[in-house]
């Protein structure tokens, strides 16, 4: 902790950490948190202004005093903090969405999106378009389930995307089991998709929901084995510990090259991207489990897919590509940018896979999951155990 604070005091040109923020009795984090510090200072300006104005109107009132007090400041700073975290993740996701459209276009010998800012504003245009569409509901659906499942799919995806730390100073929670918690939230969505498929009173949606469950039981186990392997190598489930363990030794994709490739494909399956998007296979099931969702709901589902893709890439980055650290440099001045660049590199690989491969069949994904990924992950575990026992790590 001290090390991080010292580091920031040296290199951070916006020095938010030195102003007694962490001496606040209500400080919600264990360590220094950059977005929170920004939000706290922001609230000091905003809340201070409000308090000053109130004080001019009603001299010496209690509200003004409460507003600039430690507790209220922490509360409002946390609200701002949530907004900032979401907006940053949202923008990152939009960038990856833009990147996919552009790169996929080039790989297919076409242009990709072209609306403003090299096509970036197409995301905004699409968002506006879906937002303005009529909110149609099909008849004879289980309306309640229909609504809450899709809300939960989107909500869980956004939540898990916001929980990914961008650096040692940019996080929401810093649990010792951070990796596990992210994976647990990540794996929730297929259940809702299954229920949603039932609720829609549509055969395509039903099959799509079943397939989502089928997909999940095929990749989830090897994926968890590989997470355990990485944790074994790093000695912790804490994301920060895993990243700094890689910084101290080598990036983990070198000792676990098998695990890296397997986890990459598992992550592709987890985010339901193309080789494994059997739940929404548009060739045979019209839009899979999303068939009956229209307008803004569909737009948000699409966005949630990209949130999940972003998280999957971030997991690969954290577990195998050294997170926000660089070799010989360590954290560097802006570790968040390093992390995002690595994430987008992994996302580029996913785009490449999407452009090159076709969709697998539901029975093939089970075969691949249990007959290929599973043995590979166990081999990976064995290699890591040997390395650990041999004292290399």
């Amino acid at each position: 902790m001290d090390l991080v604070v010292e580091y920031n005091s040296l290199l951070n040109f916006i020095n938010f950490g030195e102003l007694g923020l962490m001496d606040n009795a209500y400080y919600p984090f264990d360590t220094y948190n950059l977005p929170y510090a920004i939000c706290y200072r922001l609230w000091e300006v905003l809340g201070g202004t409000i308090a000053w104005l109130l004080n001019l109107l009603f001299p010496d009132n209690g509200v003004s005093r409460w507003l600039i007090g430690e507790g209220a400041s922490t509360l409002f700073a946390l609200i701002l903090f949530m907004l900032v975290m979401f907006i940053v993740v949202f923008v990152c996701t939009l960038i990856s969405l833009w990147m996919e459209r552009k790169c996929l276009g080039r790989m297919m010998d076409r242009r990709g999106t072209m609306v403003g800012m090299k096509g970036f504003l197409q995301c905004v245009a699409d968002g506006l378009k879906t937002f303005m569409k009529e909110n149609t509901l099909p008849g004879k659906i289980d309306r309640m389930t229909y609504m809450w499942t899709v809300s939960l799919v989107i909500g869980v995806s956004v939540l898990v995307a916001c929980m990914v730390p961008l650096s040692a100073r940019w996080y929401v929670v810093d649990y010792d089991t951070g990796l596990l918690i992210i994976m647990a939230f990540f794996a929730l969505a297929p259940f809702f998709i299954l229920v949603s498929g039932w609720a829609q009173n549509n055969k395509y949606a039903l099959i799509g929901g079943m397939r989502a469950a089928e997909l999940m039981i095929s990749y989830e186990v090897p994926m968890l084995i590989m997470i355990a392997t990485t944790a074994l190598l790093a000695g912790s489930f804490n994301i920060g510990d895993i990243v700094y363990a890689q910084n101290d030794t080598v990036w983990f994709f070198i000792p676990q090259i098998i695990g890296f490739i397997t986890f990459f494909f598992c992550a592709t399956a987890e985010s339901e991207r193309l080789p494994f998007d059997i739940a929404e296979a548009e060739a045979e099931l019209v839009e899979g489990w999303q068939t009956e969702y229209a307008g803004m709901k569909w737009g948000l589902i699409m966005l949630a897919d990209y949130f999940r893709g972003y998280v999957a890439c971030a997991m690969v980055t954290i577990m195998y590509l050294g997170g926000w650290t660089l070799p010989f440099i360590g954290d560097g001045p802006i570790p968040e940018i390093v992390f995002l660049l690595k994430t987008w590199f992994v996302f580029f690989l996913m785009i490449l896979i999407r452009a090159a491969l076709a969709r697998v069949r539901p029975d093939q994904i089970l075969n691949i999951g249990w007959k290929v990924f599973m043995p590979l992950s166990v081999i990976n575990l064995a290699v890591v155990l040997l390395l650990k026992v041999g004292g290399v790590f």
Partner: protein, 380 residues
């Protein structure tokens, strides 16, 4: 068996496991055109399938009875948008046979070139459809890109991209345009190179191959019983190609191989079509050399009488999709009395029940893409 155990078998028998009918089409991403496939599924496994065609019925045959002979040529283009040249060619051949005339050599070779360009067009369209049905959009766009060069050749030859309206009764509309032979040879050379890129995407990708290999077997006997023709039939081990076995125009004077595979699965049908594209390139090269050798002043169109003598004639040809046939009954006027079209797809699509049984829902588009559905000719 002790009493405490649950009688699993009895419960299973009591349980009703419904088979579900899924109706794919006419508005469905997999149906390239307006048709419906009803599949009965048991879980993911297809137990029955039933194709329903007829949404695009335009009364083509009846309409042809009210037109003078040259006016049917633009209509014959519209039988199949992907292979317009072959249908026009077939119609012209039928009328020529009824008239009992022989067309000039040059026209025959030009028709061969046009036909083979059309075959490549059609097969590339099919390849694009296979790509999307298997979930790979890259194949779709790459195949369409290659197709564009051949459509440009069509423009160069006769001024239209798809509905070419090029063959005429007694020859072709116009002579090959200037530098057309040079352009087509370049395009063919370029295409053969570019084709290997698409093959690298399809055949070197284990996912695509495993999706197609070993599904939807058809035997020679089933082919014969149902009446399946074309590349799909040659993929089942039937060594028959009308271009070679019952040659029309000058196909007996060009040298080409007829690819035949005995596997009879989806992948074999795919491979036959890919190889046919390469063979078409060979045929084009030879035919262009023949056209060059005939010189610029050789006749390409002869004058034909407007009235066809009473009687009947039929002609068949190797369409990109199979064996297409036209049967013409004339009553001696300048309009046909009856013109019957035998479309290969109309019979080929009836194999969908045999082919889909036992496969999975995910395979249905991949299997039916191998039929190369075209509704214009099916429903007529």
């Amino acid at each position: 068996m002790s009493d405490s155990l649950v009688p699993v078998k009895e419960i299973e028998e009591k349980m009703e496991t419904d088979k579900m009918w899924i109706i794919m089409g006419p508005q469905h991403p997999f149906s390239h055109g307006l048709w419906t496939l009803k599949i009965q599924v048991d879980g993911e496994i297809v137990t029955d399938a039933e194709p329903i065609v007829g949404y695009l019925h335009r009364g083509w045959e009846k309409e042809a009875e009210n037109r003078i002979y040259p006016k049917i040529i633009p209509m014959a283009d519209r039988l199949c948008y992907a292979a317009s040249m072959t249908y026009t060619h077939l119609y012209c051949m039928t009328v020529e046979k009824a008239l009992g005339i022989d067309i000039p050599e040059k026209a025959k070779y030009i028709r061969i070139v046009a036909d083979e360009v059309c075959r490549i067009n059609s097969h590339l369209m099919w390849l694009a459809a296979v790509g999307t049905d298997l979930g790979n959009l890259t194949v779709f766009l790459w195949a369409m890109r290659e197709r564009e060069y051949f459509l440009d050749l069509n423009v160069k030859l006769c001024g239209a991209r798809m509905t070419t309206n090029y063959p005429r009764i007694g020859g072709v509309r116009n002579d090959v345009t200037e530098l057309f032979d040079r352009d087509i040879l370049r395009t063919v050379d370029r295409f053969e190179k570019a084709m290997w890129d698409i093959i690298a995407l399809m055949d070197d990708s284990s996912i695509i191959v495993s999706r197609m290999k070993g599904v939807s077997y058809l035997t020679r006997e089933q082919c014969a019983n149902i009446g399946m023709t074309g590349p799909a039939m040659r993929g089942c081990g039937v060594d028959f190609d009308i271009r070679r076995d019952d040659p029309y125009d000058n196909y007996d004077k060009v040298d080409f191989e007829v690819p035949v595979l005995t596997e009879g699965d989806s992948y074999a049908r795919y491979m036959i079509r890919i190889e046919e594209m390469f063979q078409s390139c060979d045929i084009i090269r030879q035919a262009v050399q023949k056209i060059r050798a005939l010189g610029k002043n050789a006749p390409y169109r002869i004058k034909t009488p407007t009235k066809v003598p009473a009687g009947s004639a039929f002609m068949r040809m190797e369409d990109p999709r199979g064996e297409s046939l036209m049967y013409l009954v004339s009553d001696g006027t300048d309009k046909p009395y009856r013109l019957k079209v035998r479309s290969p797809i109309f019979t080929n699509v009836s194999t969908s029940k045999v082919m889909c049984q036992g496969c999975r829902i995910a395979d249905v588009p991949a299997i039916l893409a191998q039929i190369d559905m075209c509704l214009g000719e099916t429903d007529r």
